[in-house]
């Protein structure tokens, strides 16, 4: 692995410009009162100080994409005979996501197990995943909603990233995590980090330490299954939920999608778009029946999936990166930590009765 | 009782001082609190309203704007002419465009739309003849036959004035009845008195006012009651002219309704200004007293007869 480098703040823009010459750079940008990942244009200011409102999920997994386009070709001799011609759609550009936090990147590790699994490989996802590099910035201080250390990550976690940037006085220590990342360090703007690398390490350790004791969500895996039929519990914890999709769409680990066809005349597109398990439509069946008719059913699924069903299938890995966006951006401040904690502590009424 | 922003109008300071002073006195006696609009100015009457709607409305609106600070239930005025100008201004200003134009002319723009009413409307609706009647159980004006005369603009045009029946108003009738007076069904309540033709064409006023006086006299009225300074002037001051035009001498006192209410309530003579009337009010009051005396006499006789009857029976 290449040695650690250092870049001072005043050279950062120049380095980004240099990188943007080689590939598409996506960086956090202030838009109105929100911070979102957007294509970087030379000289533009990037917002690195605070966690972006939305994670960089859509770079690899767009909010909507055409899985395929098709044309109907009519046989002029026999108009009833129609052939379908499929047109390719995937053409990912080499892309660098600059300035994400470790949690934002960790989401893709959760994705990978699904879209790059043993039985199924999603070509659309994989093509973009292959083409995308992550230059991640380590966090110095957790926010009130942060809990990455409780789900197996840390504020300085480099897993999944290609470069790790650690802020120290007046600049960043830049460390390559992957070979692809190392190639990005070949720039005259970067200097050797030297002793600053240790400073960076200390910074990351301090950040983790300040987060305090992690919470153990492990028992939730079993407990949530036990609570599956306790709708009273779920109605209680979902009472204030308004069933919108802010939590799932902003979640770096939520990977569900929907597929719809859009036709116009003799052409059409098959569109894959983000779906949201908090929505009524998510499990709505063609018959009109809906196995998850209420928000209680749906919230149960969301929490259950992240802390129980996914870990069950994937070596106990919790499908949550602890970024806290679902808490911060929830219009009614539903707190998933609180729900899981409550679930783990929950005594079914029957048990309580028996205990008396 | 609420507070009212009071707009006296120019006549009240000149030709109809007795209307002004009796109005204030009666309002005080009935608990209607008047606060004068500070620095009030012309209502935009005759000269302005015929030539420039905007200007006349602005003149009226100036007063309305000043009244806003008083936080009164309504702006009220005794004079129907002032009333018309103030109300017409409010009516026109319900059009936003017009209101903006008016406000442009004013130092202090009109913010709210304070209702404008006549003093008569306040006495008839907010106080009410029932209240007056309760205060006067002995019916002090019993026997006085009055013809209430409203004039042409107190209730008209109805869509602007929004008060009483514009063809057969009853507000003054009811108030007079509350005093105990005998109210005659005066058919020419809202007929024209000749108005300001008194200056240019006296003959017209003499003829029209004469007709009113004749009708009142035919009904056996002791007096005419008015609520308008101009009507009062035409009927009272010009009664001689009307008499010579009709070839018949009218002798009908013409009261302001406030004078009669004041009289009934026992307001001091100095504030009623009865001495300012041209046709001697005694004529009517004496007639009233005669009727009352006669009635007393009859009752005394009846009483005596009863006593005698009782005595006999005993």
């Amino acid at each position: 692995m290449a040695e650690a480098k250092y870049i001072s703040n005043d050279k950062l823009t120049a380095w980004l410009d240099e990188l943007a010459g080689k590939m598409r750079v996506i960086a956090p940008t202030r838009q109105g009162d929100a911070v979102v990942f957007a294509p970087y244009a030379s000289g533009q200011s990037v917002e690195l100080a605070q966690e972006a409102t939305a994670p960089p999920k859509s770079v690899v997994f767009p909010a909507s994409e055409d899985l395929l386009r098709y044309d109907y070709r009519k046989n002029p001799e026999n108009l009833g005979q129609v052939d379908v011609e499929l047109l390719p759609t995937i053409s990912p550009e080499p892309t660098l996501v600059f300035g994400s936090r470790p949690c934002g990147v960790r989401g893709f590790l959760i994705f990978d197990r699904v879209y790059d699994g043993a039985t199924y490989k999603d070509p659309y996802y994989l093509a973009r995943r292959e083409a995308t590099l992550f230059a991640t910035i380590a966090c110095g201080q957790a926010e009130n909603a942060c809990f990455c250390h409780s789900v197996g990550s840390a504020p300085g976690d480099a897993t999944g990233s290609d470069l790790l940037l650690t802020p120290i006085a007046d600049g960043f220590v830049v460390e390559a995590v992957s070979d692809k990342g190392a190639q990005c360090l070949e720039s005259s703007l970067l200097e050797a980090a030297g002793g600053k690398a240790d400073e960076a390490k200390a910074f990351r350790e301090k950040a983790l330490q300040e987060m305090g004791e992690p919470q153990d969500f492990g028992p939730a895996q079993q407990k949530l299954l036990e609570l599956f039929d306790d709708m009273g519990f779920w109605e209680d914890v979902s009472a204030k939920c308004i069933s919108c999709g802010a939590c799932t769409y902003l979640c770096p680990t939520c990977y569900c999608f929907n597929i719809t066809d859009e036709n116009a005349g003799l052409t059409g597109r098959r569109v894959r778009s983000w779906d949201n398990c908090m929505s009524f439509q998510f499990t709505l069946e063609a018959s009109g029946h809906n196995p998850r008719p209420t928000k209680a059913h749906r919230l149960k699924n969301r929490v259950g999936h992240k802390f129980s069903y996914y870990p069950n299938l994937h070596d106990g890995i919790i499908a949550c990166c602890g970024c806290g966006r679902c808490i911060k951006s929830c219009p009614v401040s539903v707190d998933i930590r609180e729900i899981v904690t409550k679930a783990m502590a929950h005594q079914p009424p029957a048990v309580e009765e028996a205990a008396k | 009782m609420s507070t009212y922003a009071y707009y006296p109008g120019c006549s009240g300071l000149g030709t109809s001082q007795e209307y002004e002073s009796s109005t204030r006195a009666v309002c005080r006696a009935l608990g209607v609190k008047l606060v004068d609009i500070p620095d009030w100015s012309c209502c935009g009457s005759t000269p302005a309203h015929t030539v420039d709607h905007l200007l006349s409305s602005a003149l009226a609106a100036r007063n309305l704007a000043l009244a806003e600070d008083l936080d009164a239930a309504a702006v009220i005025t005794p004079c129907p002419s002032c009333l018309t100008n103030l109300k017409v201004a409010v009516h026109r200003m319900s059009d936003r465009e017009f209101r903006m134009q008016v406000n442009k002319l004013l130092d202090k723009p009109v913010d709210r739309s304070t209702p404008v009413k006549s003093v008569l409307q306040v006495l008839a609706e907010d106080v009410g003849p029932e209240t007056v009647a309760e205060m006067l159980p002995h019916k002090p004006l019993a026997g006085l036959k009055v013809a209430p005369y409203y004039g042409c603009i107190m209730n008209r045009p109805p869509e602007v004035m929004q008060f009483d029946d514009h063809e057969n108003p009853m507000a003054m009738d009811n108030l007079m009845a509350a005093l105990g007076a005998e109210v005659l069904p005066f058919p020419l309540k809202v007929e024209c008195c000749g108005a300001s033709y008194g200056v240019a064409r006296k003959d017209i006023v003499a003829k029209l006012s004469g007709k009113l006086l004749q009708a009142a006299e035919d009904l056996g009225a002791h007096a005419v009651v008015t609520a308008c300074p101009l009507c009062q002037m035409n009927l009272d001051l010009r009664q001689g002219q009307a008499s010579s035009a009709a070839g018949h001498k009218f002798q009908l006192p013409v009261f302001y309704y406030t004078q009669l209410i004041g009289l009934a309530l026992g307001v001091p003579q100095s504030e009623l200004g009865l001495s300012k009337l041209c046709v001697n009010p005694r004529l009517a009051l004496d007639a009233m007293h005669a009727v009352q005396a006669e009635k007393r006499e009859q009752e005394a006789k009846k009483e005596a007869a009863k006593q005698i009857h009782k005595a006999k029976a005993a």
């Binding site: 409102t53 909010a63 209680d236 069933s243 999709g245 859009e262 778009s273 219009p331 | -």
Partner: protein, 318 residues
């Protein structure tokens, strides 16, 4: 007795007759309140009211139609109750309204603009005029007048318009009229600027529909045409046109019904200023029909009625 204590007493007294009472409590940190569903007497203790009680409690009503629900309301929340009642979407006898005089709520977006990131607020103290925050160990004081939600600055109904119980004394309205200067200001820009404004703002929309689900008047929810195929008004494409079309649908569906509680904009996780669209709609509704939604339970929403001769609509002659 403080208003809060009085309110708690009133709620405690009524609670046995109700399935729940909805109010607010502190959320995951001191700056963020969260709706509180009080079912037992001990829940009432957690009730808080004040500038952080931003959520419109009436939003939950239509989802609880068969329940006996108590509702703690700000003035704007109560307008939603009135409007829902007017449209027959709730049974008034199933709802017990607890009112209190609302001094206005804070707009957390404005707080963020003033003091930067609010992710690490440790403590918040509210006074009638100030928010005092401890963030990252430093003290921040912001005047309420600087962070008060715009809807509160122009609020004409700070006291519940309908209520069964009222704690404290009704307060003076914050404003007596609304001249819609914000709308006028926005429209003083060129058409092109306005068009581009929305194109750019809508581009970051994530189609989470928090705006819709937070709206007390959006009663279609699960059956909203934004997500249906029959009818198929919008596609699921991540395109400005589709996102914007939804905002037009929302605005049109709220025409004459929107009580301007501002929940749509507050709920938006990416801070798109969509209340402007509803403000415009309300301005026109006011001008054409002289109508305010959520004020009179007996009124009929203007777009669900008509007059043979419309006073303020000119017949369009050619």
């Amino acid at each position: 007795m403080t208003i809060l204590t009085q309110l708690k007493e009133q709620i405690t007294a009524q609670l046995p007759k109700l399935d729940m009472v909805i109010g607010w409590e502190q959320g995951y940190d001191a700056l963020h309140a969260t709706p509180l569903f009080m079912r037992a007497a001990e829940d009432v203790e957690r009730l808080q009211i004040g500038p952080l009680s931003v959520h419109n409690t009436a939003t939950y009503l239509t989802g609880l139609r068969n329940k006996k629900v108590g509702l703690v309301v700000k003035g704007c929340d109560s307008r939603a109750v009135v409007q829902l009642q007017q449209e027959g979407l709730i049974d008034r006898e199933n709802v017990v309204v607890f009112g209190f005089p609302c001094d206005g709520v804070a707009d957390l977006t404005k707080v963020r603009r003033l003091i930067g990131d609010v992710g690490r607020v440790e403590e918040v103290e509210t006074t009638p005029t100030e928010l005092r925050l401890r963030v990252d160990g430093r003290e921040e004081q912001v005047a309420m007048s600087d962070v008060m939600a715009d809807k509160c600055r122009r609020c004409q109904y700070p006291n519940a318009l309908v209520h069964d119980h009222f704690a404290g004394k009704p307060r003076e309205p914050h404003a007596t009229s609304d001249d819609y200067t914000d709308v006028q200001e926005f429209e003083s820009q060129s058409l092109e600027t306005r068009f581009e404004h929305w194109k750019s703002e809508m581009s970051r929309c994530i189609r989470c529909y928090a705006c819709r689900n937070a709206c007390p008047m959006c009663v279609c929810r699960d059956h909203c045409i934004a997500q249906s195929r029959d009818p198929h008004w919008v596609t699921q494409d991540d395109m400005v046109r589709e996102k914007w079309m939804f905002q037009v649908i929302h605005a049109m569906h709220l025409a004459g019904r929107c009580v301007e509680c501002g929940e749509c904009q507050r709920a938006c996780p990416v801070d798109i200023p969509i209340l402007a669209l509803k403000r415009k709609m309300n301005k026109e509704i006011k001008e054409v029909f002289n109508y305010d939604a959520g004020v009179d339970p007996q009124a009929i929403p203007p777009l669900l009625s008509f007059q043979v001769e419309e006073e303020n609509i000119n017949e369009r002659g050619w």
